[in-house]
């Protein structure tokens, strides 16, 4: 088996996105309810970004690489309408730009955001801090798993 194949199996292929970009991508997509303290909200947003980073990293390499390239393109193409990459836009413009891609007539554009949104919502709603507000009995179970 060629050495590059072994390298890919051993996860030497570098990541093309940073959790910080994923935090900017997921934050506008997260619900405002239940209301969380600023500290809890910050922690949840960080954990959502970390979860996204791990999940995207878990994808088969032949899907992950093009997906991460597409995320970077998404980031950079925001400069066309707004003059800045997505990561540097204010919250309102980030939301508008995300909505533009979410409702794109192109399936690839919609699917790019769809994956982020679905993983972010799953992790957010099942996060122990959120569950503690929604369902304390489930929060204990999930916290034990995370431990």
């Amino acid at each position: 088996m060629p050495c590059w194949s072994v390298a890919i199996q051993l996860s030497f292929v570098p990541r093309l996105v940073h959790p910080e970009l994923l935090k900017h991508l997921s934050r506008p997509l997260l619900p405002t309810e239940p209301a969380l303290s600023p500290e809890a909200r910050c922690r949840v947003e960080g954990d959502v970004a970390a979860f996204l980073f791990a999940q995207i990293g878990s994808m088969p390499t032949y899907l992950r690489l093009p997906y991460e390239v597409a995320l970077q393109l998404f980031n950079l193409l925001a400069a066309v309408p707004y003059g800045l990459p997505y990561q540097r836009l204010d919250a309102s413009r980030q939301r508008r730009y995300l909505e533009l891609w979410s409702s794109s007539p192109l399936r690839l554009g919609r699917d790019l955001i769809r994956l982020i949104r679905s993983c972010a919502l799953l992790q957010f709603m099942d996060h122990p801090c959120v569950l503690a507000r929604l369902a304390p009995e489930l929060a204990e179970e999930h916290a034990a798993v995370q431990a």
Partner: protein
């Protein structure tokens, strides 16, 4: 992850690759027959007795690729399978079905599977069930989400039944709670180990050296902390039980391609959330256990695992319109339509990475069945008292009456609007004597090989139309017994 120069050598009479439903029962049967059995499992050994297996963190530990396995096609389909000791039996809903008679007869007639009759298959189930433990929920703990489903079906005069599960008797909790399933890691794997089998986890077999119709050598990569090293396995016989995707991927990556990975069948699934007047607290109650069989074999309707996260996932297709529905999450439950896919998918191997590429294009019949199924699902939920139904579609986002569901009977939903998933895949290496389509013979021996066998869902010639765990185990037991009698 660094590659160490260390090389490990292992030896056994029989190598079993994979520790799921097929691999575990195969290993136990062969070990109890006195053979020296080595089970090699790609995934980790995780103590699921302490773990709720439906949480995001458990997904990262137990699911292949963290659950990020798409089946590519005209509509991409999310697929999850286990990658851990015990395989998908550690993460599934644990529903238990016996193989339908029509499936057995079809396999015999259409695919030429010899010596397979409904009576023989029933005998196999009679043997497996007392050991593995198949039970119904205690009636006192029947979840409200299941009760409304059953009531709705009965009001409509539809055939509905409670499905037993592979679970401890007297279970009063969700099938995804810690220790709530009699999975392979609790049943046939300990049995195999008691009979002398060895289990090596965190080891992915990737090379089968083949010459003159025999597998001469097997090797793989074994994780050992932050490093990996190669493992060479010497075995007289090799059983591959990696599942309907990994088994054909391994075979094809090693040049074994005839009828391998060409006949993939799946059960595409469409989910829906339903809102009721009363509080269900579905997150704490057991999984809904009723399935509607009125539209068998092509359409099954049932209930799904529930957490606020899974609810949000189902609503996310129309999140802008649906997010306020989350406020009523305690009055909601999740359900699904599952159809017996009519199309044929493929499993191939990506040339640069060796990773499986799975493709399946929904047929017009698949879309029709899913559309009709969604109409029927809406109908039964409203009959059971639902106020709103939120299908996992891009449009429409919500159904507010039985009449709104009727539109799906008149016109199939375009595949591009559906958010699809599946947890049932099979038939990628069908067994049978019809060499035009079958990869293995009537007992799982790969055609034109002397010592290579398959023992998982890939062997089922086509879709059985039901949760396949029991069928996989029954066929694996049958084939392992045949091996012991004729080839060991």
């Amino acid at each position: 992850m660094l590659l160490s120069k260390r090389e490990e050598r292992l030896k056994a009479d029989v190598l079993v690759v994979g520790s799921g439903a097929g691999g575990a029962i195969t290993a136990a049967t062969l070990a109890e027959a006195g053979l020296q059995v080595l089970i090699v499992e790609e995934g980790p050994a995780v103590d699921t007795s302490q773990l709720a297996t439906h949480t995001p963190e458990a997904m990262r530990l137990l699911y292949r690729d963290g659950g990020m396995c798409p089946i590519l096609g005209t509509s991409n389909i999310a697929f999850v399978e286990g990658r851990c000791v015990g395989g998908s039996t550690e993460i599934n809903s644990a529903f238990w079905h016996r193989t339908p008679t029509d499936a057995v007869q079809r396999w015999r007639v259409r695919y030429g599977v010899r010596n397979l009759s409904p009576e023989q298959v029933a005998d196999l189930f009679e043997e497996i069930e007392p050991f593995i433990g198949v039970a119904y929920l205690e009636s006192a703990v029947l979840p409200p989400s299941s009760a409304v489903f059953k009531n709705g079906a009965q009001r409509l005069g539809w055939q509905v039944e409670e499905v037993p599960r592979v679970q401890p008797r007297g279970l009063t909790t969700s099938a995804f709670a810690p220790g709530a399933k009699n999975s392979m890691s609790r049943t046939f794997l300990p049995r195999a180990l008691r009979a002398g089998a060895q289990l090596v986890a965190d080891c992915r077999i990737d090379r089968l050296q083949v010459r003159d119709g025999r597998v001469r050598a097997v090797s793989g990569l074994r994780r050992d902390g932050a490093r990996s090293h190669r493992v060479q396995v010497e075995a007289r016989h090799v059983f591959v039980a990696g599942g309907a995707i990994q088994t054909p991927a391994l075979l094809r990556a090693n040049g074994i391609t005839k009828n391998v990975g060409d006949n993939l069948h799946i059960h595409p699934m469409l989910k829906a959330a339903a809102l009721f007047d009363e509080r269900f607290d579905s997150h704490t109650s057991p999984l809904p256990v009723h399935q509607i069989k009125e539209f068998r074999p092509d359409i099954t309707l049932g209930g799904s695992v529930f957490t606020p996260g899974y609810l949000a996932l189902t609503l996310s297709e129309n999140w802008q319109a649906n997010q306020t529905a989350m406020r009523d999450w305690q009055r909601m439950a999740l359900y699904y339509v599952s159809s017996r896919g009519s199309s044929r998918g493929t499993v191939r191997v990506f040339p640069f990475t060796g990773e499986p590429i799975v493709r399946y294009n929904l047929s017009a019949l698949d879309r029709r069945n899913l559309s009709v199924g969604l109409a029927r699902l809406g109908e039964v939920l409203f009959a059971g008292g639902a106020r709103k139904v939120f299908p996992a579609l891009r449009s429409p986002s919500v159904l507010e009456s039985p009449r709104a569901c009727q539109t799906f009977l008149e016109r199939s939903i375009p595949g591009a609007l559906m958010s699809l998933s599946t947890v049932h895949i099979f038939s990628s290496c069908p067994m049978g004597e019809d060499r035009a389509v079958c990869a293995a013979d009537s007992y799982g021996k790969v055609h034109d090989f002397e010592n290579l066998y398959l023992a998982d869902a890939s062997l089922l010639p086509d879709s059985p139309g039901i949760n396949p765990q029991g069928t996989i185990m029954a066929i694996a037991l049958r084939n392992a017994r045949h091996f012991v009698q004729h080839a060991a």
